[in-house]
Amino acid sequence: MTEYEAVIGLETHIQLNTKTKIFCSCKADSWADEPNTNICPVCCGLPGVLPVLNKAVVEKAVVLANAMHSEIQPLSYFDRKNYFYPDLPKGYQISQFDQSLGKGGYLDLPIPAANSFDKKAYIRRVSIWKLHIEEDAGKTKNAGNRRFIDFNRCGVPLVEMVTGPDLRTADEAAQYLIRLRQLLRWLGISEADMEKAHLRCDANVSIRVKGETVLNPKTEIKNVNSIEAVRDAIATEIDRQVREVEAGHRIEAWTLEWDEDTGSLKKMRSKETEADYRYFREPDLLPIRMTEEWKAKILAGFPELPLQRRARFVEQYGLPEYDADILTGERRLSDYYEEAVKDYGGDPKKVSNWLMNDVLRMINEQGLNPSEMKLTPQALASLLKLVDGGTINISTGKSLLQKVQDTGRTPEAIVSEEGLGKVSDDSAIRTVCEEVLTESPNEVASYKAGKVTLIGWFVGQVMKKMRGKADAAMARSILEELLK
């Protein structure tokens, strides 16, 4: 049987999280607004209006271009892409065609072992072919045999980023989107929520016999709005193409739409997809002049990127890849971690354990923002030190986390006020130990008959009586002594 491989390129549209639209002063985010209320003459393409470029759009796009190792052009131009569509009010989209803001670039994509064919992790370098600024169109929704148009989204700033045909599996495509989403949030330039269409993806898919280097005719899948859907749509399309080729049919350059409800692909009428966009320079806008000075200002304070930080966490803190990956999943979390490690001064892995097991659960369950928690990295560090120093035991420590978060008081203050310090007074513990042994003659007999593992049970009883405050190690040694 012939073995095929897929050749996949992704066109992503990224909504930048500016306050306002790209060419007018309407809000960029109108997710919660009534239809056609966040509109003005400019974004509705009324006769006579003109676009005026939003500075923040350029700045955010430059940040992204820099992160993608794209060459930022000193002079870039806007062009008109002409086509008719009801959600495109001017009948053309203002985009950048042949001299766009970013030139080239790449993303090194780590593919985890779990997503690889041969179960070995590897790096896929995905080249960036295009990186440019453009305006978003409005939204259409089907209503029987009609369409309803909402222009609220019209003119929201987008960066279109097109990869080379470098991805080979539906899983790789999904990984690319996961990493891109992480990066966008990390840089603070997009909310990157696919459900809200902040991040959209069209996939170009073709197949070829494995080992060949030709590029066969491709289909373009549009309207995929979750990472799972991208994976499913591409996988479905790869299967379809293999079936077609096996049946001796040619793949035609169709445009397909993914219908998430039925999990099927629909073909758009070829007539609508036949396009000559007749690009030409947008006469209503001046070119973007990216001076060295402006660029330096934008890129001052450019952050360490997630994949770099992930590698550094492994190297510097000796964390397992798994920990490093989770801790760098989100920028504020990873900043939190590093601050806590710094303040704590002890074993970074220990901080990681507390963070990943307990603090992260609080964050997720309660929807907290790591940079605004009352349980600050400093508080976590002092809490860990209290545990290390024997002032409190681990379980007290864990219950303290929520208390600090709720009250905003320091762990030390709470411990001393609530008398949560470990009881390490020998005589107090000894009294309770004696009580426990007297109350449990059967267990004492079993222990003495050789079932020494019962020691844990005795310690537990002591802790229970002392509501967890006893120094467990001390209780254990007293019990062992009494049981001799």
Binding site: P41, P47, V49, L50, V52, G91, R278, P283
Partner: protein
Amino acid sequence: MDLCDLSALELSRLLGEKKTSAVEILESSLRRIGEVDGRPGSLNAGEITPNDRSRVHAMITLTEDLALEQAREVDRKLAAGEKVGPLAGVPFTVKDIFCVKDTPSTAGSRILANFVAPYTATPVERMVAAGALMIGKVNLDEFTYGSSTESSAFQPSTRNPWDTSRVPGGSSGGSTASVAAYEVPLSLGTDTAGSIRQPAAFCGVVGVKPTYGRVSRYGLIAFASSLDCPGPVSRTVTDAASMLQVIAGPDSHDATAATTPVSDYLSNLEMGVRGMRIGLSPDYFRITFPDGQGGFKEQELPAEIEKAVRHAADVLASMGAEIVEDVPMPNTRYGIPAYFVISRVEAASNLHRYDGVKYGLRTTQNYTDLKSMYKLTRNEGFGLQPKLRILMGMYVSAAQYSEQYYKRALRVRTLIRRDFEAAFDPAGNYRLDALLTPTTPTTAFEMDAVYGDSVLMQYADQLTVPANHAGVPGISLPGGLDSAQLPIGIQLLGADYSEDKLFRVARAYEMATESEDWRKVKPKVLR
């Protein structure tokens, strides 16, 4: 003498001296419109009657209520001793290619006949802020596509006040006719290839195409965005200068509105031309056009027109200007062919938005799907001229032809620009302050004589279009009458942002010819 026969400057003076009121001025203008304008243009005009043939028909929409409100406000301010703007109480008309809030803004097209703009164009807003009274919106070629105003969907189209069997020129024909017929002293027009200067010449008034980007285009329904320039129409140079002073300058709604400071057009207006260098070019005394057999024909201009220009040069020379002969402007002849390409590409794109979805006409015929709705709407809504421009624009910008036509035309545009740069270069061979040329190859032609021949019609702009390609400013001035008693226009062209100099030269010429006989002749509709 009625108030409406006065210039904006004279009206301001009278108002300042409290010898009249803004409401009286407005009433005078409205009376004049009532006397000479005839019925306004409309979509279903029916038969053109002999009475129609004797009227001007500048108007599409009279905005007298709005103007009255503005006039009362001016009078209230004057009575209260409050400060008023520089054009307070001066009536003006607006070419119906500008959006004005709550008024029909039709572009002379069926497709926008029912469009009521929800916002106001910057130049109109500035006129109103300066106290001027917007009295109405005037006719034009559909979407400004023409040189005779005949292509408007709103008929009867405007006629030339000097001879109502002739066209007023275009596309700002309604603007220039309303000023020439003394309905108003000022009008706001637009010039993409000569659309202010050519009808100004035909109607014997002053028309200014400012430097590209000097006046904001916000609210101007776009034709060719890289060429369109809003500008003043008036009867005197001083009025044009005052009006440009009001409307020029940067605008936060137009990225192409230049931030270069606006010169003071008025202080030095009457400083004369002593020492200024004024050029004449042989390339502006002949035109080249297709002969219909696949070749090109070169033709000298009518002697009367050349004579008027040479006379103007003599007048300026007698006032101390230095006349520089034989300035080469070799790429002038490519202005129209390059324009056929560039303007059409931009126009086709600018007309994409008229699709029956958001505003304007949607077909009332049955449609089966989106595409058929588009087609029926655009077919009903656009006249022949927009259709022609769309098709041409589509053809020459198609991927396979773009290099051959569009890119080539843009490079030829550079050559045309270089002609001007060489002529005005202060360190060059010619060091001109202004180039003096005829505005048009002919005086006003008969209605229906050229209409229908889109090529010949376009060549009416041959002497004006190079300034649009180059972006430089130009003024057309009344320069006498021909043997048929029709106005002849002379044109002054200058370097970027040199409107102040052009006004100075124009005003010098105007003062020097004040007592010439032709200045006393009034348009036929007023005789």
